[in-house]
């Protein structure tokens, strides 16, 4: 039994490395996209609002698996072949960007407009007030939902096995066909995800507690 776990554990850990890589890469894409679009939404341009709203609604109301299939299989059909790893990062990143746009927007909305006005009144430029006054406060407010999103993202990476990205579930499925240790392999895969997400969940709890103390 132990020897078996050792044999199966190697490939699964290899998959876990990819899982972490995809999670981190998609997280960066989602944060850049979400923060950028939330900042754009602070503008008064109607058309910009409109386009961002469409993006957010479409990506939040369709399954990430459909988005991944469109990027991986759909784009290949029109002549754009995207490899599975970048397709996974782009798909999860675009999906997360829609979620985080709302998170950051809510974060900005939670900050009293007096903060910005005061910053401008003491002679800061709009950029300086954003950089030194608004963003640091938004950051503290958005940290817990951002953390929760990161956990959800980590678990969502399991579905990219469907577009053959070599992460935990992908290796698990391959191991099952080669060893027939179905139960053991999937239990180990589940434990591996748990081992990755549990510490992250405790960290987010810590942020939440600290934020409550701060508010």
């Amino acid at each position: 039994m132990l020897e078996q776990i050792y044999d199966l554990g190697g490939p699964l850990l290899l998959g876990a490395v990819t899982t972490v890589q995809i999670t981190l890469a998609a997280l960066v894409v989602a944060i850049v996209l979400g923060l950028g679009l939330a900042l754009l939404k602070l503008s008064r341009l109607r058309l910009v609002h409109w386009l961002i709203d469409i993006y957010v609604e479409v990506f939040r109301n369709t399954p990430v698996l459909a988005q991944l299939f469109l990027i991986y299989f759909g784009l290949a059909y029109v002549g754009f072949k995207v490899a599975s790893f970048p397709a996974a990062v782009i798909g999860l990143g675009l999906n997360g960007g829609a979620i985080l746009t709302e998170v950051f927007r809510a974060g900005f909305a939670a900050i009293h407009h007096g903060q910005r006005e005061a910053a401008l009144a003491v002679g800061m430029t709009p950029w300086e007030s954003m950089r030194h006054i608004i963003l640091p406060q938004t950051w503290r407010i958005t940290l817990p939902p951002l953390g929760n999103y990161a956990i959800a993202l980590l678990k969502d990476t399991a579905v990219v096995s469907a577009i053959a990205a070599p992460e935990i579930m992908f290796y698990a499925r391959n191991l099952v066909t080669s060893t027939f240790e179905t139960t053991l392999v999937y239990v180990l895969a589940a434990l591996l995800y748990f081992a990755l997400s549990f510490p992250l969940a405790r960290l987010v709890e810590h942020f939440e507690r600290r934020q409550r103390a701060w508010l």
């Binding site: 109301n61 299939f69 579930m169």
Partner: protein, 227 residues
């Protein structure tokens, strides 16, 4: 563009009966797994607030595991992983059980937060006027808790609807699987996955709008009620 749409017109008569059945299955899958998740969630929430230490520990452990493991891993474990142990489930049943067990962990936390948000005095007052603990829960705690848990529950329903798509990976005959099969047969992945995405959107978007409405209304209501 018109060429792109013409493909739909050409295949529509052969696609739509299958797509319609698959969409209906997706709706059924969502409803059944949500019902199971709510039942599991309520039991776990009550268990987590139980005076018995062992019950509390077991429920907490379940919630942590269900929230820490991807739904896809749970689905694979139930559908493939139980077969060597002699438990063979139909793909639809496995999907309902897997999604329900996974979402149950989240819903448990929603209900626990809802129940705990209600002041202890409410229950004490109910007991003081002669209600049994069951009556105080049914008539005093539950109606108030529902108001608090309704918005997160609706959001969970939307997430569940979208998550049913991953059941295609254990060959549950729902929308995503049908779209994939038709895409493979016709070599038209762009058309079919786009069609599937549009159908999911048409199912999920109205729910999103309702959820936002309910949330806004309850927030107004709660503000009006608090002194």
């Amino acid at each position: 563009m018109s060429g792109f749409l013409a493909v739909y017109a050409e295949h529509w008569s052969s696609w739509w009966p299958q797509i319609a059945v698959a969409t209906w299955n997706t709706v059924l899958l969502t409803v059944f797994s949500f019902a199971l998740a709510v039942a599991i969630g309520i039991l776990l929430a009550l268990g987590k607030l139980s005076p018995l230490r062992l019950v509390r520990a077991l429920c907490t452990a379940y919630i942590e595991v269900a929230r820490g493991v991807p739904a896809l891993a749970i689905l694979f474990l139930i559908y493939f992983g139980l077969v060597p142990l002699g438990i063979v489930l139909d793909a639809f049943v496995a999907a309902v059980v897997g999604l329900g067990m996974s979402a149950g962990g989240y819903i448990a936390e929603v209900f626990r937060a809802g129940i705990q948000a209600i002041h202890r005095g409410q229950r004490e007052a109910a007991l003081a006027v002669g209600m049994t603990p069951a009556q105080s829960f049914r008539f005093i705690i539950l109606p108030q808790a529902v108001q608090i848990v309704l918005p997160p529950l609706l959001n969970m329903l939307i997430i569940l609807l979208k998550d049913t798509s991953i059941c295609s990976l254990i060959s549950t005959p729902e929308l995503m699987l049908r779209a994939k099969d038709l895409a493979m047969m016709s070599f038209l992945p762009m058309h079919l996955f786009l069609l599937a995405a549009v159908i999911y959107f048409l199912l999920a978007w109205p729910l999103s709008l309702i959820a936002r409405r309910v949330e806004a209304r309850l927030r107004r209501g709660l503000r009006a009620a608090s002194p």
